[in-house]
Symmetry: none
Subunit: 534 residues, 2 copies
């Protein structure tokens, strides 16, 4: 947990994904998740990682214990979050404060009430005692050798209600030894002009070093953070991908990108900004949320240009059509029409998948043509790597990989007079010279087909017993002609050790699903190292 930060302490990027970000509805982090995220944030290069509230729940206590042993942070300093002591007690005697010290974190962020009505209604104490709680707790932690930041909760609403008291909180914290006093827009209702004005006034009136913590309830969290920086704040609290309570927090990635690229401020170690896209997606994977396709800087659509664009002008000077070079944040421009882009991305993907295209220009050209032709029909390979790899191998080897030959299949869905449904599927196929006919039931026609295909193949390929269909998505690609639309199905399959995605496109959902199921089994056999039948 030692950190040898090369970053200048005069400006802090402080990440609170593991504490405030974890408040997002739908996120539920294990200790292993938290350790994994901390490593990604450290790789990214933030200055501080707020790990949680030790003592408040067993998970956070365990996180700090394991962090001491396991986390070898290269850039960041680990921070424990906690509250000021209880009213009427001493900080030195408060078990919650003791847990902060026992966490071993070199920095503690203390949350303090800064809104007079919250002191009275939520803390149920006097305004003076609240100040005393701040003074006592900060001083105690400083005496124990910790660096202390103070989060002023509900600061901006509190400032509107009682500016003198809100400023007294800031002064008290700073005088007691807090290095940074963080003004928090806890309810998230502020707009940039308000944030800027209040931060400027408080800085002038108190002289304290100020930080900013914003929530995105008005859709302005990033701008609010930057407005505070413009007004003199030198510590910004953010969360990866903007995760957080309600709408979320200020998103770390656009805040850092704005500071580095628009302000010209070095806030990450040299060269780390290029990791932005990768880190954003990796953290989304850990928390098990689909990365937003439209997130600024890092979304797959963030630098995608539709065909309407003047292709000649963009070739002359791409910067006319993009606000930054996407490679600076590790993203890429996606020109969906450009043949050159197609080639480059096919070669890249081949390398990614371990299929050597050996600089074979004719082969790459054939793959590009094939992908274009299939995408025109509605296929997509961005989310179907396994189907893409099968296509790539088919072109490289001159023929598709065949473990089995389907003769025919049939799916029946029946609504019976008693209101129940029966779903039955029959598959007829050949594998290793044997003709197999299998029938299975399911809770829907696709499920029945999946079962029947697996029943048929498992006789020959027992490896398929492990396969499980883990996700299924349908999209109708043209909605203008009723049920005559084209249907695209994406299926994710797991064998316990890994997961792969396949795609099918057809006039009807059953036929599209069948294609994706067939690819899923073929890829499963390829993964298992089975030799194709001839």
């Amino acid at each position: 947990m030692t950190a040898t930060s090369e970053l200048d302490d005069s400006f802090h990027v402080f990440d609170t994904t593991l504490r405030d970000g974890a408040q997002r509805e739908g996120i539920n982090l294990t200790v292993a998740d938290k350790l994994a995220i901390a490593r990604h944030l450290d790789d990214f290069g933030v200055g501080f990682i707020e790990g949680g509230w030790p003592g408040a729940n067993p998970r956070d206590t365990e996180f700090f214990a394991r962090a001491r042993e396991e986390l070898k942070l290269k850039h960041a300093v680990l921070v424990a979050f906690g509250a000021t002591r209880r009213p009427g007690a001493k900080a030195a005697d408060d078990p919650q404060v003791r847990a902060l010290l026992e966490s071993g974190a070199p920095v503690v962020t203390l949350v303090a009430k800064a809104h007079d009505r919250h002191v009275e209604l939520a803390l149920r104490t006097t305004l003076d005692e609240n100040l005393e709680m701040i003074r006592d707790t900060v001083a105690h932690l400083r005496a124990e050798g910790r660096r202390v930041f103070v989060d002023c909760e509900h600061f901006f609403d509190g400032y509107r209600a009682n500016p003198a008291y809100a400023k007294a909180v800031v002064r008290t914290a700073a005088e007691a030894g807090a290095d940074v006093v963080v003004l928090c827009d806890t309810n998230g209702g502020m707009l940039p002009a308000q944030i800027g004005a209040v931060v400027g006034t408080v800085l002038a009136d108190t002289g304290a070093r100020l930080g900013i913590h914003t929530q995105d309830d008005t859709g302005c969290a990033v701008a609010n953070t930057l407005a505070a920086v413009d007004a003199g704040a030198t510590h910004v609290q953010c969360t990866a991908n903007g995760y957080g309570e309600r709408v979320g927090n200020a998103n770390l990635f656009p805040v850092v990108a704005a500071l580095e690229l628009k302000y010209g401020k070095k806030v990450l170690p040299e060269g780390h900004l290029r990791e932005t896209t990768r880190i954003s997606h990796a953290i989304a994977e850990v928390v098990n949320l689909t990365p937003s396709t439209h997130q600024p800087y890092v979304g797959v659509s963030a630098f995608a240009h539709k065909a309407g664009l003047h292709a000649s002008a963009i070739k002359v000077d791409p910067d006319l059509y993009q606000h930054i070079d996407p490679e600076r944040v590790g993203n890429t421009m996606r020109m969906l029409v450009s043949d050159m882009a197609g080639r480059a991305s096919i070669e890249l993907k081949g390398r990614e998948l371990g299929v050597d295209l050996g600089g074979d220009r004719a082969l790459v050209g054939r793959v590009v043509e094939r992908v274009k032709e299939r995408e025109l029909k509605g296929y997509t390979y961005e989310a179907a790597d396994a189907s893409f790899e099968l296509l790539l191998r088919a072109e490289a080897q001159g023929a598709p990989l065949k473990y089995f030959e389907v003769e025919s299949w049939r799916a029946i869905t029946e609504d019976r007079p008693d209101g129940t449904h029966a779903n039955e599927a029959t598959v007829k196929l050949w594998a290793k010279g044997e003709r197999i006919v299998a029938t299975a039931e399911g809770n829907g026609p696709v499920n029945a087909l999946d079962q029947a295909l697996r029943v048929a193949l498992e006789k020959i390929y027992p490896q398929l017993a492990k396969l499980e269909l883990v996700d299924y998505k349908v999209r109708i690609l043209e909605g203008a002609s009723g049920t005559r639309s084209i249907t695209r199905v994406l299926i994710s399959t797991s064998d316990g050790a890994g997961e792969w995605s396949t795609v099918g496109v057809a006039e009807n959902v059953i036929a599209a699903s069948w294609q994706a199921l067939e690819d899923a089994c073929t890829y499963g056999l390829l993964r298992a190292g089975v030799e194709p039948a001839e």
Copy 2:
């Protein structure tokens, strides 16, 4: 297409979902979708709806033709988008400009180049000729009786490169008769402070009425829009849910909410702000994108409070924990599930649909319960008005509306050895005392079922011959258990005179589609004034 706007012209909320929003990767709107979205936007109460680029593609041309006949806008004015005339020609002779006039839209937004390098590289003309193109085109449209707004493309980048030329573009447009000159951050790279400074200077230097159009590439589109308003812009261009190219555009809903609730500016008709959440979700359904759970103001998580909150304090004063009362935008705090909110919206919807609930509190209560129970199962009524009306009538009359009684149905999809597919469906039902068995084929199982149901019913109800299925959408509601997920189907049906939407939810896509088809036919008979069979 007549509009009797009660809104003050001194400030414009200008929506461009149908033009710029449609540029979003993954959105592909039909003419019917565009008409449906225009109705939702008009219900919301925006001042202007930019419908597309007539003449640029057949779909947009058809949209304006149908809009003239079918759209009865209550608040909004329809706007056609187009470009300044070609270099070296006359506006009066330019077919693209003629298409704008022929669209019949009373307002035209012209896009003009404002960045010198774009004039040279993309338009391949001189800076002077570009000004002449603007002057000529604006003057021609004005002479033809149109109101004209001019979008200055790449304005902020252009201003940085050549401020004198960028301002000359603004002056030229205003002097030629443009009512509003819109400064566009086309590449989306600006931050609020920059936007505010440039808008303020341009306003002072040109005296033109200014508008603002921002993209969200820095995550600041909403704040950038507000910064321009602070600096004197009186026309804001937005898209529903922020749909748009790359990352997206300034999101209409937080912009309007900020103007109304934070600025105290009336920009919607009285009482319409409460429709924000409903309209946002309804438009997401039309474009077939899952509504963002974390969108400011309208997301289901936007006012959701996790348990950690001091429940006693929130009961004393909920405003201590939320930046606005969520009911002001039609959303709800998710700690206290308000029965009254449900009641109010049901009564409102009943009135809208012409079903008199007669202040019957018990009936409204039953409908609320029934809707909650069905929504828990995955139904949605925001985008399925016809299914909702059938539910309402069933509760009001004590029994569902029955024109026919289904005994059973069956759908078979078969993949034959020659690679072709056969889809066949059989429906067995009773209507007016007669038992009917009908079989039909289709290009998919749902299409075959639709055909079979219509073949069966048309014998008794010839009115159904006019019905046509015009849209079909599938969504998988839980993706974690493979094909065992719940499937929701939304179907839109037309009888030539109008369109209605129905919903079905089931374990499998065929059964879900069947429910929606059955509702669609029942509603079609209700619309046709047919008396239910007993």
